[in-house]
């Protein structure tokens, strides 16, 4: 019977927010047993939601969907189990609760470390040290442990203590000045957190590589990922142009960093406005003269497109404003999906700028089974959740565990894994370590 790629590997997940949590999600999808360690007395903002108990009025008013879009717009009995911002990161994981601030809680973590292979953490600088949880401490419990630590700017250097979310370190790395509208002030540039996912994916890779090395040498190790440095690949052309030529890149909107033209987002027929999420757009890139010919044919070869200077890329690059205007007049006559298939059939790379609610109905998304219904622990649902993006035919990877609820595996971790006696378990429960609710003192 084939085993999943990481079957038999146990990972302690001490992560917050997205970056580390995404790393452990990929490890879990690949078959590792990932155990979230959660403290019912401490609320990490942006880990199981903005607030433990968001008021009902907040969820029913106006706001950012992924922050307030709780099931049925109600906080429900345990809002931390279904924060839309984070719940999709909880599939295939286990969760147990313990208060690490108390000696008996720290002892429990030490005992878990003895039985684990990997620890992943991305806390604000100093948080774990304050609790006494360091690589050395973990190593005392498990000689060959692998620890992935993901500080924003690294463990050394003048910014080692700086706190950051993805948007801040991306700004430091140049991204916020490199993207956005070319004709607007940077203050109009939206806040994004893409570096979190780079860190998550590369963190999962780092852990796997360390596991492979350990298999051959018997040694674990500390992996240091400065999330800022880790994101560099996303800005490769800007770094290379500066390093080679001293050139500075600035925002070019949706145009091609390679000078491919036309390249942009053009309006399509819409039934309503952007404020209702009903605006429709098509994205297209012409990457070669052949694709330009294909686009001309798809448009019925209008007069403006026959100009000989548009037959080569440099000519098109020089007349992008003109082409964008003409293209927009043409695309506005079509539905986005109609144009999508028409352009692709002609050989032009194009697709709708898809508003996410439409993804569920897309035939390709459905054919690939990208979303599958799952029920939440508290009985809510079913809702269509993402599935792992790994397609491994001989060792299939699937959803084994719907998004895990706080403390869902307390019995398993304490009793089965750590061999805690019934009496001790009850004592820990009475002391508040074992819980499925955040303490009422938590905001």
């Amino acid at each position: 019977m084939a085993r999943k790629p990481l079957e038999g590997v146990r990972v302690i997940d001490l992560c917050v927010v997205w970056a580390g949590t995404f790393a452990t999600l990929l490890l879990a999808d690949l078959g590792a047993e990932v155990i979230k360690v959660e403290n019912p007395f401490v609320w990490h903002p942006m880990t199981r939601g903005g607030r433990a108990r968001p008021p009902k009025e907040m969820l029913q008013g106006l706001g950012v969907a992924w922050s307030i879009g709780y099931p049925n717009r109600e906080p429900g009995p345990r809002p931390w189990n279904y924060s839309p911002t984070f719940v999709q990161m909880f599939r295939n994981k286990k969760s147990f609760t313990v208060d690490l601030r108390r000696p008996e809680g720290l002892d429990i973590l030490g005992r878990l470390a003895e039985k684990s292979d990997v620890v992943v953490e991305n806390n604000a600088a100093g948080t774990l040290e304050k609790l006494g949880v360091t690589y050395e401490w973990l190593k005392n419990h498990r000689q060959d442990i692998i620890m992935l630590s993901m500080p924003a700017y690294g463990l050394t250097g003048p910014y080692a203590d700086a706190r950051a979310l993805g948007v801040h370190l991306e700004s430091v790395m140049g991204h916020t000045l490199l993207r956005g509208y070319s004709d607007l002030d940077p203050s109009s540039t939206s806040v994004i957190y893409s570096a979190d996912y780079m860190a998550g994916a590369q963190g999962a890779l780092a852990v796997m590589m360390a596991l492979w090395q350990r298999e051959r040498t018997g040694d674990g190790q500390l992996i240091e990922m400065a999330q800022a440095e880790n994101a560099s690949g996303m800005f490769a052309q800007a770094f290379m142009d500066y390093a080679l030529n001293g050139n500075a890149h600035g925002p070019i909107g949706n145009r091609s960093v390679f000078g491919a033209a036309p390249c942009g987002v053009y309006p399509c027929r819409s039934s309503g406005g952007a404020e209702m999420a009903e605006d429709r757009w098509i994205a297209l890139t012409v990457t070669s003269d052949g694709e330009w010919t294909a686009l001309r044919r798809a448009m019925g070869d209008p007069e403006w497109a026959r100009s000989p200077e548009l037959n080569c890329q440099s000519g098109r690059a020089a007349r992008q404003d003109f082409m964008d205007q003409k293209l927009a007049e043409w695309t506005a006559q079509f539905d986005d999906y109609d144009l999508f298939h028409r352009l692709q059939a002609a050989g032009v790379p194009a697709a709708p700028v898809l508003e996410v609610s439409r993804a569920f109905d897309d035939p390709h998304v459905q054919a690939r089974g990208l979303y599958q219904p799952q029920r939440l622990y508290d009985g809510l649902g079913p809702y269509r959740f993402c599935t792992p993006f790994y397609r491994f035919p001989e060792t299939p990877l699937d959803v084994y565990q719907p998004p895990v609820a706080l403390g869902e595996h307390n019995d398993y971790v304490y009793k089965e894994l750590l061999g805690v006696s019934d009496k001790e378990y009850e004592r820990l429960r009475a002391a508040g370590h074992v819980a499925m609710d955040f303490d009422p003192s938590v905001p």
Partner: protein, 404 residues
Amino acid sequence: MPGPLDGVTVLDLTEYIAGPYATKLLAEYGADVVKVERPGGDPARLLPPFKGGDPHPERSGTFFYFNTNKRSLMLDLKHPRGPEVFGRLVDRADVVVESYRPGVLDALGVGWESIHARRPSLPMVSITNFGQTGPYRDYKGSDLVLYAFAGEMYSMGILSREPVKMYGTAALVESGAAAATAIFAAFLVSARQGIGQHVDFSIADSHFGGLDRRHATAIAYEFSGRKTTRAPAGAIGFLGGVYPCADGYVVFTSAAGRMDRVKQMLGSPNWLDNPKWFQAGASVKPDLVEEFHLHFYPWLLERTKRQVWEEAREAKVLCGPLFTVEELFQDPHFRERGFWEDVYHPELGDFELPGRPFTMHGSSSDPRRPAPLLGQHTAEVLQEAGYSCDEVRALAAEGVVEVR
């Protein structure tokens, strides 16, 4: 100390961005990545920026960045003897990675079936726009097109304008990072269990499936029927978003949630003694936003972005300066950490390259090798695969391979 991937051989048939980034990650940590290039080379060799500006296949900064530490072998898979040579390379590989359109390698007789028949335990990972199955499997993509469709682009930008993407090829690079985990997992299954399998990695799936925020907007809709729109300009209230300062811009996020820290950052001015600033939802009340900004803008404009950030750091306020690439290259923090590495390349000269994405403190890390010249390693790789010098010369004379 060993390198983590010493002794692992990757046969790399990927081109452009996503696939090469995935295999670059493996090469950076010690894998022997043999890049099989078509005659003329990976088309990314013709992507700017070029050293000096003029197109030249050995002067592309894009190609260089995505192919450091690899070896290059130029092989014409369309030549009648191409598949034979390819087979010999397959014999020495631990994992094969490719990024051609679905069916292209099969048509050349070097696809999954022939690889699997030759080496049943060898895995292959195919990295494509939309995957090996489904109605769009043959559709074309680009960074813009794939991010528009599968990534969370629709909600980026401002309400009154078109959606706007990330920089350059950032979305493809994200997918490349995710693909690297698939490649390595397929390798682990093969090394431990002797199972070879054809892994179908779709760039679109990776964005739909959780990379980069789309998971959150999707489930918010499922849960509540709420759709994620672009925000109206300036909608975030005070202390959220990008602000000007003396010499550029800084970004704050949700800082108003900790007004105690904001107060400390601003030097505890009297105007912040009023409890109204500490009430729930203060940061989005229009009159308070206006009043706050009347005090805040002058404070910002008296300070450089480094000064603002320093004072924010001291008060533990979430903030970051908007650095230009030039400022980043000069920044003392990354200098002190030794992040920039000196490299030399015969066509590009001496320059500085961003360092590896993470540091494995228990592993050796050899100096980085520059991206290969086209066919630079054809002869040595073929000899390692068992061809004699004469046979290599004969293959080159027949036009099966090109030797530099």
